[in-house]
């Protein structure tokens, strides 16, 4: 069982992803924006972060850069979530240090598989 942070300003997506990952046995923390996501990670370490790229205030890319800059979260696995129309963000996301990305619309099952795969890869 892993601790996963989900940061997305869209409550529908946040709830859906949280439900799917909880169903898969993970312990989930949710954040409605980038600032709250960083605060959550600093208060309680997580094993993986799922970050929506477009969030009000601090974007998922900014959060990813902040995580990479801090020694305690520099190697935290990060998956970015982006809309199909913002696929250009993916390249910037990898440059910011993300490990993987998921494009909306996505299948909850595929998302869960990607989270598990990345967690397994890190464990090895």
């Amino acid at each position: 069982m892993a601790r996963v942070l989900i940061a997305d300003d869209d409550a529908d997506i946040r709830d859906l992803v949280a439900f799917k990952l909880t169903q898969g046995g993970h312990q989930v923390t949710v954040a409605p924006d980038g600032m709250a996501a960083l605060k959550a990670v600093r208060e309680e370490p997580v094993d993986l972060a799922l970050l929506d790229i477009r969030m009000p205030g601090m974007s998922g890319l900014d959060v990813c850069r902040e995580l990479r800059a801090a020694p305690e979260t520099a190697t935290l696995p990060v998956i970015l979530i982006t809309a199909r129309s913002q696929e250009g963000d993916v390249e910037v996301g990898f440059a910011a240090g993300a490990d993987d990305y998921i494009i909306k619309p996505f299948s909850p099952r595929e998302l869960s598989s990607r989270v598990t795969a990345l967690l397994n890869r890190v464990e090895r």
């Binding site: 529908d12 709830d15 799917k20 299948s107 099952r109």
Partner: protein, 364 residues
């Protein structure tokens, strides 16, 4: 001079209007928040069921579907905004299940009926739902909505038609570019591109319509890879009286990449043609990868217009080793203006290569 009493009364009046407007805004926001919370409260008991359904394995879905189709009308209405939003955000089995839920509930039929509602917000929401469901029987009423009195509804209808993907909507989408209630060209173009290559024969009919429809049709044909229409687009570049149509044609020819585009594009570079057309045509030759255009592009490096010259330099880069060789020669041996453009393009190549971890040798 204005009497002080009148000034005081005017100031008081203005203050009263300001306070009344502020109160109105606060009230409207309050009502919105109240309605949103009320909706969330009503939907809360079944929201868990919905999430369960979207994450369930196929074996468990039928019971959950049954439970959700049985919920009362009030709860369904409260849940519907989330359902509609999720339709556009989930894929695969979750999306198929959502569509089944709408079908079992008869909600697609309700949405078709709501297209005739007197409330614009309701018509727009219904169009959005039908688009997300890709509900083909809704194509005809959605086409009628392209002339709706509300501009937001017209946009929703155009987007929905693009999502549904029925090429019968093409003539209506092209026609809605004109008239007293037009739909913005960008939205029409996206919708037509979403219809895919199957719509190309109908989109081609737009080449004989009004200038805006011709421009949009050409752009769509270019974006959907309509190589069989290259000669018609080339004719538009040569003969269309509208410069916007010519520019779209040049860009589309570059995208399509067919050899018959070469001569019209070279002709469009003549100095007596508009700068915007010459610039796009130079770029299109680069996209075309036409090595035979190399000498003409080299000549353009010395063009008095810097946009044309810079675009020609980048087009030479896209020609690969031949174009890059020509740029190096120009950088070393050409006159001031041409050499400067060539060096700038080669420097861009060097920077791009470095960003991707590729080492590029450039002698500047």
């Amino acid at each position: 001079m204005i009497p002080p009493g009148v000034v005081r009364a005017a100031l008081l009046g203005l203050s009263a209007v300001f306070v009344a407007l502020s109160l109105l805004i606060v009230c409207i926001r309050g009502v919105r928040v109240y309605r949103q919370r009320r909706r969330e409260r009503i939907a809360a008991p079944v929201r868990g069921l919905l999430l369960q359904l979207l994450c369930a394995d196929e074996d468990d879905q039928s019971e959950l579907l049954h439970q959700l189709t049985q919920i009362d009308k009030r709860t369904w209405r409260a849940l519907e905004p989330s359902l509609t939003a999720l339709l556009g955000k989930v894929a695969g089995g979750a999306r198929t299940t959502l569509i089944s839920l709408y079908e079992l509930r008869g909600a697609a039929g309700d949405a078709v009926a709501a297209l005739g509602s007197h409330r614009a917000a309701r018509r727009g929401r219904a169009a959005q739902v039908l688009g997300q469901l890709a509900h083909r029987p809704a194509v005809a009423p959605l086409c009628r909505l392209l002339a709706d009195r509300d501009p937001e509804v017209r946009l929703a209808a155009a987007r929905a038609l693009g999502r549904i993907g029925d090429s019968a909507a093409v003539p209506h989408l092209l026609e809605c570019l004109q008239g007293p209630r037009p739909v913005p060209p960008g939205v029409v173009m996206s919708a037509l591109v979403s219809l895919g290559p199957e719509s190309q024969p109908r989109v081609s009919a737009g080449l004989r319509m009004e200038p805006l429809a011709r421009a949009v049709a050409i752009e769509v044909l270019g974006a959907t890879g309509a190589v069989s229409r290259t000669s018609e687009i080339a004719r538009a570049l040569r003969e269309d009286p509208e410069i916007e149509v010519q520019i779209k044609a040049a860009r589309a020819l570059g995208r399509l990449g067919m050899p018959e585009a070469l001569q019209p594009l070279l002709a469009a570079l003549d100095p007596d043609r508009p700068v915007s057309l010459r610039t796009v045509s130079a770029g299109a030759l680069g996209n075309l990868g036409a090595v035979v255009a190399e000498s003409r592009l080299v000549e353009l490096l010395d063009d008095p217009n810097t946009h044309v010259a810079a675009t020609a330099a980048r087009a030479l880069l896209r020609l690969g080793p031949v174009g890059q060789g020509a740029l190096r020669t120009a950088a070393d041996h050409a006159g001031g203006r041409a050499a400067a453009q060539a060096r700038a393009a080669l420097a861009e190549l060097a920077v791009g290569g470095a960003r991707h971890g590729v080492r590029v040798e450039v002698a500047l």
